[in-house]
């Protein structure tokens, strides 16, 4: 065999920068997301260092405030969104038997907008108050409540960086959402009716529609806030008589669907991984579709449960409590259906399945503490305490991040043609799982003991020392988990076992093409008769379509 032709680095780079291939864009999205995961994780580590003991002075208050603002903003917009949208970008065309997304150039534009917004946000560390200034990063919280964000209380340009960078990155997400909806609705291969799509596609369809409804709201209020700050408008300026609650209503009208925007793709990953490793068809596909759609609708009507302490009337409180309880029902159905999928299977606990199972176990806890927070009078005690921090990290770390790792270990062979190392993967799972529990479990306790969120220090003698020390130790354990993941990633890219086309004996279309797939995905457009086309091929005596 002859050596591969020499390609200079500059033309490789040129190829990546100018690409409109959904797979290359997907990879770039995911790599950017992992890069920012390490940045936001480092910010969290420094916060845990500060909070390990009472009255610590490792971080001054302004730096701490900037770190929790950047940690939250980064994890949601620069980690969660790009990894999820990148995965959707990569796998939706493959799973529905298409050759690319509906609008490849819009796709590239969306990615570069996202990346530019992300870099702009981090440039604020230098530019927030001029290069000579200090603490230039946004420090008003990821929710940026008015009127703390007006120029009176937040001078300098750090808040403007928050506004403009997220506006730009958000535009990228909106474009990707348009693209996803168009692709899923118009580019499915022959035989793939809506009800024969992999559940992954259903969940991403609802997800993209939610993005289309929620993100423009954020974009709109960000522009209003920018007008307030730069041109003296008074949308949220309390000193000029504005009602600052308007910001909260509009922000959470975006912000709560955003939680579902992040978690629906996690559901999608788990819904693909669990059946394959349990060796069983997904239990109750139609109910899963119905649950996903109803989550999409209800998610738009629960936003004020973030505002139970703002003095809403009892009638409004009762409505939002009720709506929030109701959204627990379709979410519960999904959990039961995943467990029913595992029930009676031959479960192979490879790393993807370890993470998927960890997801189900931890998401149940995050969901149940969510129900507790929906009980309005309990929320009056627990809102804005560490209980809430514990709650949503069970949803977004034990939930979302575990699902991301499940998907990462599951699809890495498809994307690179190489397997990730299983031993390191299992060690990573257990380090993260233990570290996660030790970090976020005790946070519920510090909340019960009266510790509010977003405080840079706390006082001794309030029963908080043990819980905070545990949380910080957990964070250190997690650090080694993430370190192992980076080592595994680099090691496996060089030395990983060749994966073959279908290393997990899976059933959806992407496993029928080569690993990595060719730029055109499929030489011939596939035709499907069921939700598991590869099952039909492998089991011609007992094909799926007879039962669907």
């Amino acid at each position: 065999m002859t050596t591969a032709p020499y390609i200079p680095l500059s033309s490789k780079l040129h190829e990546w920068v100018t690409t409109v291939d959904h797979k290359k864009l997907g990879v770039m999205y995911i790599l950017s997301g992992l890069f920012f995961l390490f940045i936001a994780g480092s910010e969290a580590l420094m916060m845990r260092w500060q909070l390990a003991v009472p009255n610590n002075d490792f971080l001054p208050p302004e730096t701490f405030n900037a770190f929790f603002t950047m940690h939250g903003t980064t994890m949601i917009f620069l980690v969660g969104m790009p990894i999820l949208l990148g995965s959707a970008n990569y796998f939706i065309p493959l799973m529905i038997g298409a050759r690319d997304m509906a609008f490849p150039r819009l796709n590239a534009f969306g990615f570069w907008l996202f990346l530019f917004g992300a870099l702009l946000l981090y440039f604020s560390f230098l530019g927030g108050q001029g290069l000579s200034g200090e603490e230039g990063a946004p420090n008003v919280g990821w929710f940026a409540y008015a009127p703390l964000t007006t120029t009176t209380f937040s001078p300098g340009s750090s808040t403007d960086y928050w506004i403009i960078s997220l506006f730009v990155a958000g535009m990228g997400s909106i474009m990707t959402a348009i693209n996803l909806v168009s692709t899923i609705l118009t580019m499915r291969c022959e035989g793939m009716t809506l009800m024969k799509m992999p559940l992954f596609a259903w969940m991403l369809l609802v997800d993209a529609l939610l993005i289309l409804i929620a993100l423009p709201t954020l974009a709109a209020i960000q522009i209003m806030l920018l007008l307030d700050r730069q041109f003296g408008a008074h949308f949220f300026d309390a000193q000029a008589g504005a009602d600052p609650l308007i910001w909260q209503h509009l922000f959470w009208f975006f912000g709560h669907p955003e939680v579902y925007i992040l978690i629906l793709p996690a559901f999608a990953f788990v819904s693909e991984v669990t059946p394959v490793f349990s060796r069983k068809v997904l239990f109750g596909y139609s109910l899963m579709v119905a649950a996903t759609i109803s989550i999409g609708f209800i998610a738009l009507g629960v936003w004020a449960h973030h505002m139970f302490a703002t003095g809403l009337s009892p009638a409004v409180l009762s409505y939002f409590a009720g709506a929030t309880f109701i959204i627990g029902v379709p979410t519960g159905m999904k959990i039961f259906n995943w467990i029913a999928t595992m029930w009676g299977g031959h479960i192979r606990f490879a790393t993807p399945m370890l993470f998927a199972t960890g997801f189900i176990a931890m998401f149940v806890i995050g969901g149940l503490t969510g129900i507790m927070l929906a009980v309005v009078p309990m929320d009056w005690q627990l809102s804005d305490t560490y209980f809430v921090v514990g709650h949503f990290h069970f949803v977004l770390f034990g939930g979302l991040l575990f699902a991301i790792f499940a998907g990462f270990f599951y699809w890495f062979p498809k994307v690179t043609g190489k397997m990730l190392n299983e031993t390191m993967g299992k060690w990573q799972f257990w380090l993260l799982f233990v570290g996660f529990l030790v970090t976020f479990g005790p946070m519920h306790m510090s909340g019960f003991e009266g510790m509010p969120r977003r405080i840079y220090t706390y006082f001794p003698g309030r029963g908080l020392e043990l819980w905070n020390m545990l949380s910080s130790i957990g964070a250190a354990i997690q650090f080694f988990g993430f370190l192992l993941f980076s080592i595994n990633l680099i090691w496996s890219l060089r030395n990983g076992k060749p994966a073959g086309d279908d290393p997990w004996d899976a059933w959806t279309l992407e496993w029928s093409t080569t690993s990595p797939p060719p730029p055109w995905n499929y030489a011939e457009t596939p035709t499907v008769r069921s939700r598991r086309p590869l099952w039909d091929l492998k089991h011609p005596e007992d094909p799926d379509w007879e039962y669907e």
Binding site: Y145, R279, K280, A309, W343, G344, W380, L382, T385
Partner: protein
């Protein structure tokens, strides 16, 4: 709320005991939501037990089924064929749709009943009305009926309902004393209400619970509940103007000639500020800087030397005073009993 909770209170008691053992000693400043001393926080604690019970059952059933599947159905590696493919089951799926609906409906009813039972827009008969204003980063307490303005520490009589009219001077804050009641936000251009009734004598700690800028962490609250007679004594003292200084004090002249008066008021001496805590009866308070430090002459000096050393980023500027000036000012301030 009167729900028969059966064994649950005992479980919670064991749990609270565990927490206390786990934290080595009973905390000196207890802020636990499980130790209510007011009807509002007691109602919420009781509701918590009920909900915790329901949640606990769901938790055990769900995680139990998951753990069972993990151990019972893990592959032994010797299977020769795929397991039976089960595509779904209408009765089972209907069951885990309907049962959760019933559960959340019950939770909804309990929640709504408690919301309405705790809702209070008008002060009840005989209540003490206090206007509470959040500032960056301290709390102002005005008893308008009694003509008292103070800061940081809220004195209330034991066993009397306290009705709080909550406002904000600048950004959004949240008033939270866990053992007395849940939190309520203080929002500019709005007035929110909250109430509690301290049924025991003591000091109840709390702090701002809505992120409000640099020193959100040190925007502390102390509610001091005392016998009616002690409270009346406190009121009588607070209603007086600042104590006359017997001989002209250098520190007083200095206070009046420096920028102090742009923000701080002293009843009977000067009233042109109001932006910062009223100092008329400064020495009657246990703490300064909204609870960030004990109120001692040493801490007052430390504070005047550089407020950032106690509360980094607070709005009181460093006045660059000389040690002589600081001594004189503190000499005057300590007369404000």
């Amino acid at each position: 709320m009167c729900v028969n909770l059966g064994i649950l209170p005992h479980i919670i008691e064991v749990y609270i005991a565990t927490v206390n053992i786990a934290t080595v000693a009973v905390p000196t400043e207890n802020l636990s939501i499980f130790d209510p001393v007011s009807p509002v926080s007691t109602t919420i604690r009781d509701l918590f037990m009920l909900v915790f019970g329901v949640i606990g059952i769901i938790f055990v059933v769900t995680e139990g089924a998951l753990v069972w599947s993990i151990f019972r159905y893990r592959s032994k590696g010797d299977e020769t064929s795929e397991p039976p493919q089960i595509y779904g089951s209408n009765p089972i799926e209907l069951a885990w749709t309907v049962i959760p609906v019933i559960i959340v409906f019950i939770l909804f009813l309990v929640t709504t009943r408690t919301i309405y039972s705790l809702d209070l827009q008008e002060p009840p008969e005989g209540a003490l009305r206090v206007k509470v204003t959040g500032h960056q980063w301290w709390w102002e307490f005005q008893y308008e009926d009694l003509d008292i303005t103070t800061a940081g520490e809220l004195h209330v009589p034991k066993g009397v309902p306290v009705f709080i009219e909550l406002r904000s001077f600048d950004v959004i804050h949240s008033f939270w004393v866990p053992r007395l009641s849940g939190k309520t936000d203080a929002i500019p251009n709005r007035e929110n209400h909250l109430w509690f009734q301290a049924d025991e004598i003591g000091t109840w700690y709390g702090q701002c619970a809505e992120f409000c800028g640099t020193q959100h962490a040190k925007m502390l609250i102390r509610v001091i509940s005392e016998e009616k007679s002690d409270f009346d004594l406190w009121v009588a003292n607070q209603q007086l103007d600042a104590a006359e200084v017997p001989t002209p004090l250098h520190g007083k002249e200095m206070f009046l000639s420096l920028a102090c008066i742009n923000c701080h008021n002293i009843d009977g001496v000067i009233l042109q500020g109001g932006f910062a805590p009223n100092l008329t009866h400064l020495m009657s308070r246990d703490t300064i800087a909204s609870g960030a430090a004990e109120n001692t002459p040493e801490n007052l000096k430390k504070w005047l030397r550089n407020p950032d050393s106690i509360k980094d980023g607070c709005l009181m500027p460093n006045m660059m005073l000389s040690e002589d000036q600081i001594d004189s000012l503190v000499e005057y301030l300590t007369t404000l009993k």
